[in-house]
């Protein structure tokens, strides 16, 4: 654990290294500012000593002291300001660097990572964790540093005035430290209970309000309310305890502080009577006694904050250091205007080693052929696409396009050769036009409109408030699922690469529009090698090759007629289930 923390710390320091000069300034200025700040009480004390009583005031002396004070005050303020600016500069720039790094990483991570991790978790690493780590770690550092310097400085100043009073302060102050620690330990279990109960409640709220319509449809409101109230009451009890006990820290440390103050007051007064110290020095002592516990409390706060910050930094670096996708070989071929012959030889693939999926699969697709992938729900049809686009790499065997192994060509040229429409439509926050020209940024307006017309998207885009310049939010906002899909099709229509992948491309479009689109698709697919995944048997009947998948495996392969002719074949059964219903009705 400790070693790990050290390792993380080292990485953090590496990132700060770029801003060494700022860091150096920050530390030097912090030390100066602390010492100057601590010098003020001494000067105040000296001034007080000049004010002895009626007609016993040393005006010359006091004027000197006050002048000195004024200079120091202005200097301190200046130093503080520059120091703060330095700290900000370091903190924010490190955050920027780390985020840039994380985002770059995001683009080269294998999809396996992105598919296998919660997106919310990754986002919180890149955003919240980075913030927390910069706040906690960098601010924590400076606080820790000034805290330590303050403590040492105060001790030195105090010892220089009087030893025995200093001893009282030194003995009594750790008491507040101790009490704060004691309370924190006791409240830990209560805060834990509170946050657990709160988590439980949030989960319930999330689930129920997120699906409020279902709750209503089943008239389940009273039951839900009952469950909510039960958790809410538990939360109340836990919260009162947690909040009350954790709020005891301040009064308790303040109490210890007051004790120190009283102790210094009494002892100082005795010493003053004996003439060991002056009243002014007592004043300096009293203000030190007031300030002395502050850095202790701050440090104890900083330590916990540093720990969380370190944990956050760990999560961020873990992400940044995640294994990237396989690097391209130096002599990787650039696929240029491929003819589109695809061959899969002895392909084995599975998402996790325990569960075998595709084994020894062979497939030969001639240029311009149409391959349909069919199968029941969740049979892993998208797996084939993942392999073709090289979102995932095969475990063994090879996939070749025009005779070149996918692993020996650049990803960019491979992916540019495919036009892809996926089941989950994905749109960028931006204008409709920006979304359409993704694959061909230099497209003219005429080209864009022509593509939109071909995809039957033009008529609805035209009716949007700003036409092609309508701004849509992340994931499409007000557009219907069907409209989003039309936009994704337009996107591919515009750049028309030599090979196509259509995954459930028309699942959310009504069949009448689909007919029109499929006509467009047919023109699009002419002469292009294409892979189509769809539930609708009607759209795949005309395919040259049909791959029938079940439980991740490809179990049958052939064209419509041969597969249908196979007695007891899976495809035949699938097809007939639709047919049966029809004939049942006819009878």
């Amino acid at each position: 654990m400790k070693e790990m923390n050290q390792e993380i710390l080292k990485k953090v320091l590496d990132h700060i290294g770029k801003y060494k000069i700022f860091l150096f300034f920050s530390i030097v200025l912090a030390a100066i500012s602390v010492i100057l700040t601590l010098y003020i009480p001494i000067l105040t004390g000296q001034a007080v000593d000049c004010i002895l009583g009626p007609s016993a005031v040393d005006f010359d002396g006091i004027l000197d002291i006050l002048k000195k004070m004024a200079v120091i005050i202005v200097l301190t303020a200046l130093v503080q300001w520059v120091m703060n600016a330095c700290n900000n500069k370091i903190a924010y720039q490190v955050v920027r660097d780390v985020r840039d790094e994380a985002f770059k990483k995001l683009q080269i991570l294998p999809l396996k990572y992105i598919d296998g991790h919660s997106h919310g978790d990754i986002v919180s690493r890149v955003i919240a964790d980075v913030d927390q780590f910069s706040d906690g770690l960098l601010m924590g550092f400076t606080q820790l540093f000034t805290g330590v310097v303050t403590i040492i400085g105060t001790l030195v100043f105090m010892f220089s005035i009087n030893v025995s009073t200093t001893v009282v302060v030194v003995i009594l102050t750790p008491l507040s430290f101790f009490i704060a620690g004691f309370i924190a330990k006791r409240t830990f279990s209560m805060s834990k209970l509170q946050s657990e109960t709160r988590g439980e409640q949030t989960a319930l709220i999330d689930e129920m309000i997120g699906n409020e319509k279902v709750v209503k449809a089943f008239g389940h409101e009273p039951q839900v309310m009952e469950k909510f109230t039960e958790i809410n009451d538990r939360l109340q009890k836990a919260s009162v305890k947690a909040i009350f006990f954790s709020s005891l820290t301040n009064p308790c440390t303040r109490f210890v502080n007051s004790l120190v103050y009283a102790g210094v007051g009494i002892l100082g007064a005795f010493l003053a009577i004996k003439g060991y110290i002056s009243v002014g020095q007592l004043t300096s002592f009293l203000s030190y006694a007031n300030q002395y516990t502050k850095p202790f409390n701050e440090i104890s706060g900083v330590v916990t904050e540093l720990q969380t910050a370190l944990a956050c930094a760990g999560r961020v670096f873990e992400f940044i250091e995640e294994e990237p996708q396989m690097a391209e070989p130096d002599n990787a071929a650039v696929l240029q205007a491929p003819k589109g012959s695809i061959s899969m030889q002895n392909v084995c693939f599975s998402y996790n080693p325990d569960q075998k999926l595709i084994q020894n699969f062979n497939l030969e697709v001639k240029p311009g052929q149409r391959v349909a992938i069919v199968g029941p729900t969740g049979c892993g049809k998208t797996t084939v696409i993942n392999l073709l686009m090289r979102f995932y790499d095969v475990n063994s065997g090879s996939i070749r396009i025009d005779g070149i192994d996918l692993r020996n060509m650049t990803r960019k040229s491979l992916r540019e050769s495919f036009g892809m429409v996926l089941q989950e439509t994905w749109l960028h926050a931006g204008t409709i036009r920006e979304n359409i020209v993704m694959g061909k940024p230099d497209a003219t307006d005429d080209e864009v409109i022509a593509a939109a017309k071909a995809a039957h998207a033009h008529s609805f885009i035209k009716r949007l408030p700003m036409g092609y310049d309508t701004v849509i939010t992340e994931d499409g906002g007000s557009l219907s699922q069907g409209q989003k899909q039309l936009l994704c099709i337009t996107r591919v229509m515009l750049c028309l690469p030599p090979m196509l992948i259509l995954d459930e491309a028309t699942s959310s479009i009504d069949t009448r529009t689909e007919i029109k689109i499929s006509q467009a698709f047919n023109t699009m697919m002419k002469g292009r090698t294409s892979f189509i995944v769809a539930h609708r048997l009607s759209t795949i009947r005309e395919a040259d090759i049909i791959l029938v998948m079940k439980d991740g495996n490809i179990i049958e392969q052939g064209n419509h007629e041969t597969l249908l002719g196979k007695e007891g074949g899976f495809y035949a059964k699938l097809y007939n289930s639709q047919f049966e219903a029809v004939s049942g009705c006819d009878a």
Partner: protein, 590 residues
């Protein structure tokens, strides 16, 4: 905020006592410098040891009493703040439960969840801090000034100048930087949005080789965030140095004035020390107050948002007919009509044009009715009117002889089993989920429902069968499995009316066909409404309603519609291109 205050009513005592005790603590704190002054002026000057000890004891006593009152205050404050938040949360949740679909649509789920969770927590913190600090800080600031006046009026005038000056600086910087922090937040939201977008769209971005341009955009936005942060940082970094200068220059002036006053014999040395102490107390409290105000503005903004939710009331008034009334009313009802749409039109709030126009048809008891049409043709809108999820803007929907608006809403919905488009299951066992349909369902009812919904086959393979734990959102089930369980949930209810709203979309044709056959075989008088885009799913129905652009484009059986309804023909042949020929062949064979 005002309307939320009623939730603190039960904690009136606590919310008055908490600040009172806090002020008590503050008053004890304010006495300390005076005691110290007495020690210096009487004890040290007079070399009076017993006096010093006595005053020392007073200091300890003040500290102890201060601790006691502060602890009391913290307790009352925690109790009041948490109690308030608990009540508020409960009321808000209950309020949300009472909203109708229309309001849920306009507000949006994620908004509601944020209001319920982080907003209420912020308010709780705000209340807690207010009770503890809002009175204490000004009390100490002004208390210190008042105490200064009791020491010496001339010296106290320095306080009168310093305090407003400090206040102007502290609150001025806050006022300037707060909107800037909002800008920082907006910039942060932007890069957060882009990160999320890039995760969701990883495949598309890579397919179009957009990695580099996305990274460039991100870096640009990130740079903007950095610049804003550094700018705000510079301003707020000025807060400490400036206040430091003001308070310490005031100290210098105070010492000089003090010197003159002592020289003239008006005040003593100890009193100068007391004045110096009061000055340093002020700064600490002012900074606390500035932080408090930041917290409070946040809490107030949250309170306003929560209030906004309370102000939205359900647009749907429940009817008054309960079960008993309905039985009496239906005693001598003779016709078979189960559902009647009587010239119904629907306009969604804020939706502009009518979504449904003049829908008029009758569904008889025990019938199976299919509703088919293209995307956005209004199929779902039609079925949503039956359980009164939305109210018709024109015309009436009549269920079992009574207008839906006259039913007590729970009584109406009990009669209906709905399987929504999106398959939603809740965290809990399969059994618990199915019992949503009917709390009193027997084990046999559940098994029957599983069999009919074609869910039995996969439930049998799950560990613990009915006791299999479904994860939140049904994440550990496939789309088709979830859909089958939602169908089972509706069937457990043994409803008079079963509505399947495109509920078989994730099922393959074979399972879909089996499901339909099993529902048909249930052999009770259940009226079934099936919404679908697939002709195959509805062609066997007793009656098919063809929807187009929010209006009924035709009603009839499959044969009738195929014979004379253009839209139905188009839909059908788009799905069965070779059916025309096939049908002819079959006829020939016979």
């Amino acid at each position: 905020m005002k309307s939320l205050l009623k939730y603190i009513k039960d904690y009136k005592k606590e919310s008055i006592l908490a600040p009172l005790f806090k002020m008590l603590e503050a008053s004890f704190e304010l006495m300390v410098p005076l005691v110290m002054a007495a020690i210096i002026d009487n004890g040290i000057a007079g070399s009076d040891t017993p006096y010093i000890l006595k005053m020392g004891a007073v200091l300890v006593l003040l500290a102890a009493v201060g601790l006691a009152s502060s602890v009391t205050a913290q307790y009352f404050s925690a109790k009041a703040a948490v109690g308030f938040a608990t009540k508020l949360r409960s009321a808000l949740f209950s309020h949300i439960q009472g909203l109708s679909y229309t309001e849920l649509d306009t507000i949006g789920t994620s908004t509601l969840i944020t209001r319920m969770t982080s907003d209420v927590n912020q308010i709780q913190n705000g209340v807690n801090l207010t009770l503890r600090l809002l009175l204490r800080s000004p009390f100490i600031v002004f208390g210190a000034m008042v105490m200064a006046f009791t020491v010496d009026v001339r010296a106290a005038l320095i306080f009168v100048v310093t305090i407003p000056l400090l206040a102007v600086v502290v609150f001025g910087i806050m006022l300037v930087s707060m909107p800037l922090y909002k800008k920082v937040q907006a910039a942060l939201d932007k890069i957060l949005g882009r990160t999320r977008e890039n995760l969701a769209g990883a495949r598309v971005i890579r397919a179009f080789c957009k990695e580099e341009s996305e990274t460039a955009d991100f870096e640009q936005e990130n740079e903007l965030l950095l610049n804003t942060q550094v700018f705000v940082g510079k301003i707020s970094a000025a807060m400490n140095p400036v206040t430091y200068i003001i308070i310490n220059i005031a100290l210098v002036v105070l010492l000089w004035t003090g010197a003159v006053r002592v020289d003239n014999g008006i005040i003593t040395q100890g009193e100068v020390v007391a004045l110096v102490n009061y000055m340093s107390q002020i700064l600490v409290e002012l900074v606390k107050m500035a932080n408090l105000i930041i917290q409070l503005t946040k809490a107030l903004a949250c309170a306003k948002r929560v209030e906004g939710i309370f102000e939205i009331t359900s647009s749907m008034k429940s009817g008054t007919f309960n079960k008993y009334d309905i039985e009496i009313l239906n005693e001598d009802k003779e016709d078979d009509a189960m559902i009647i749409f009587h010239h119904v039109s629907l306009t969604y709030s804020g939706g502009g044009d009518e979504s449904l126009t003049d829908i008029d048809f009758v569904v008889n008891k025990g019938e199976t009715v299919g509703i088919i049409g293209g995307t956005g043709s209004g199929k779902t809108s039609v079925v949503n009117l039956i359980p009164r999820f939305y109210d018709a803007t024109k015309g009436h929907v009549i269920v079992d002889g009574i207008k839906v608006i006259d039913y007590e809403i729970p009584v109406l919905r009990e009669k209906i089993g709905v399987v929504p488009q999106k398959a939603v299951l809740f965290k809990g066992t399969i059994r618990e989920n199915l019992l949503w349909g009917n709390e009193h369902a027997s084990e046999q009812d559940i098994e029957d429902a599983l069999r009919i919904s074609q869910a039995k086959e996969f439930v049998d393979t799950k560990e613990g069968r009915l006791d299999f734990m479904i994860a939140q959102g049904g994440k550990n089930l496939s789309g088709g499995q979830k859909q089958r369980l939602t169908i089972a949930r509706a069937i457990v209810r043994k409803p008079d009316i079963l509505i399947l709203d495109d509920s078989a979309s994730a099922l393959d044709f074979a399972t879909d066909a089996k499901l339909r056959a099993a529902v048909k075989d249930m052999g009770n008088d259940m009226t079934v409404i099936i919404v679908s885009q697939r002709a195959a799913s509805i062609m066997f129905a007793d009656k098919i309603v063809v929807m187009d652009d929010g209006a009924v484009a035709g009603i009839g059986t499959h044969e009738q519609l195929l014979a004379d309804n253009k839209i139905y023909q188009e839909i059908y042949y788009s799905q069965f291109p070779d059916k025309k020929a096939n049908a002819a062949n079959e006829q020939a064979r016979r």
